[in-house]
Symmetry: C2
Subunit: 308 residues, 2 copies
């Protein structure tokens, strides 16, 4: 195989009680990438459509991730990357992660898979570090492994793929406002009370158990975040009313995707997802912000190889 075309899905990180560790992969939204072998060693980004992003390999998350991989697998083969962006940078649904993960996934395929998923996550994280100022894995992990993932630790990378209850459905709202990840990181406090920390890990433990048991009631009771959400939600227009209306419409839970401005609701089944989507649409329409809403299954497979 000399060329590969892939679909690189968006993802949701910082799932409520799983701040910095839990993420899941989306189905309908994603970039496409074409990666092909060339005869001159090294990585080149030859085309980016859909977004104004640097072609310079050292300044592009896909380039940095690709070079991190090739550093561990020296080869005379070179690679050209084309990126067709649909996920807007800064939207909070893993735009940089899709590119970083796509680059290392594609090159690994073209090299006949010398690396494991865990190793690919490690390389992709180097791209993420450029985008957000910190090497985190909670977006690249679900993109590369599919489903819902828990990042136990990043040094070394230890990621667990959790089960996905069949009817679990996500509603994603992307209010098109500017919100830099770096800024959203700054407002997080360096310390947390022991009381709130205990609540958070009690909820996270319960949430993991609920995924295994397909216990939607427990998913709903445990999908909470009293630590980060109260601060970051202040940056998101109408957060409280969006959340309340979603829960009232039957959502299991509602939270901030990544560091925002996108938000997500989880529901049991598509019918409820459509109801939640409708109330979200009403509220966000009323304040005159441009936005997109997506209804998505949890994407159990992650990156998908497309026919050329």
């Amino acid at each position: 195989m000399d060329e590969i075309k892939i679909f690189c899905p968006a993802s949701v990180a910082n799932m409520s009680c799983g701040f910095d560790v839990l993420g899941f992969c989306l189905s309908p939204v994603g970039d496409e990438m074409v990666i092909r072998k060339t005869n001159s060693p090294g990585v080149k980004i030859t085309k980016i459509e859909g977004q104004d992003l640097p072609l310079d390999v050292k300044k592009n998350v896909a380039g940095i991730a690709a070079e991190a991989l090739l550093k561990e697998h020296p080869t005379q083969t070179g690679f050209e990357i084309e990126i067709y962006k649909n996920i807007k940078a800064g939207s909070g649904i893993g735009s940089s992660a899709a590119s970083a993960a796509g680059a290392v996934f594609g090159i690994n395929e073209l090299l006949n898979k010398p690396f494991t998923a865990t190793e690919l996550i490690t390389f992709a994280m180097e791209g993420e570090a450029l985008a957000s100022g910190a090497a985190h894995a909670d977006n690249v992990a679900p993109v590369l492994m599919g489903g819902i993932t828990l990042v136990r630790t990043v040094d070394p990378v230890d990621v667990i793929k959790l089960p996905t209850p069949n009817e679990l459905t996500a509603v994603i709202l992307h209010p098109k406002i500017e919100l830099k990840t770096l800024h959203a990181r700054e407002i997080i406090k360096k310390n947390v009370t022991m009381e709130k920390a205990i609540k958070q890990w009690g909820n996270l433990g319960a949430f993991v158990s609920a995924l295994f048991n397909e216990d939607y009631d427990l998913i709903s009771r445990s999908l909470k975040d009293e630590i980060v959400e109260p601060m970051r939600s202040l940056l998101i227009p109408e957060f409280d009313s969006l959340k309340k209306a979603s829960i009232d419409a039957g959502a299991l839970g509602f939270g901030i995707s990544g560091s925002g401005p996108s938000v997500f609701a989880l529901t049991k089944g598509k019918d409820t997802a459509h109801k939640v989507s409708k109330v979200i649409n009403q509220i966000i329409s009323s304040i005159g912000i441009d936005f997109e809403i997506h209804i998505s299954e949890i994407n159990k497979h992650g990156i998908k190889i497309l026919p050329n």
Copy 2:
């Protein structure tokens, strides 16, 4: 049924990454209680053997828990309680929890089970509040439900019973030194860094997943506590060398039971448990402290009804 005799097992709370939420029930160590109906309403503690504890119902955890139950189920029937203590108060393996849980379990049986396990936990917690100054459920929950339990929240009580991997075995060391729960609580800091809190909930999520998947390697990687153990372990003689020797002998993890002074190791299988028990014995013998060591399966059933 007018009289019931029960075995009320010891338990381990504050399991490493599950501080304040995770606990498990032990098999070989426990108290016995006899509870019988009488014609004069109210609760009387008529006998306590094995420990010097108050017979006054208002000053005894079993009495307080029993009265909490009867407040929600007024009856003309009275109850006499006899307690045969084997679990030493202050040992860190749920001495007060065994008595509180036993009292409400026994009375509930004699009343033909009007209450659910969750309700019994709520009553038993009132007894625990007397013993430790805080109404916590991480000992009474595994005693009443059996196995490994996660207390998501105590207000209202929401406890999840987690799966018990078949070969999981505990080694318990009780160094016979005085260590008041209240004192051990005081040295816990009120705040924790976000970085450590995230590590802890990453580990707890991974640990829960590992229990479902019977993944002993992941149990071992995730059974850690960088928040409370570094402080509380200072109160326990030879903690660091006991921990290192246990891990070297094959233990999956090692931590403080409850608020100490007891410590526990978890192993895969009995053979390793015996090896761990041996190295613990050597270390603790060498410093001249009186002690007990127990090897225990995880007790999946909790309180057991004994033949009269």
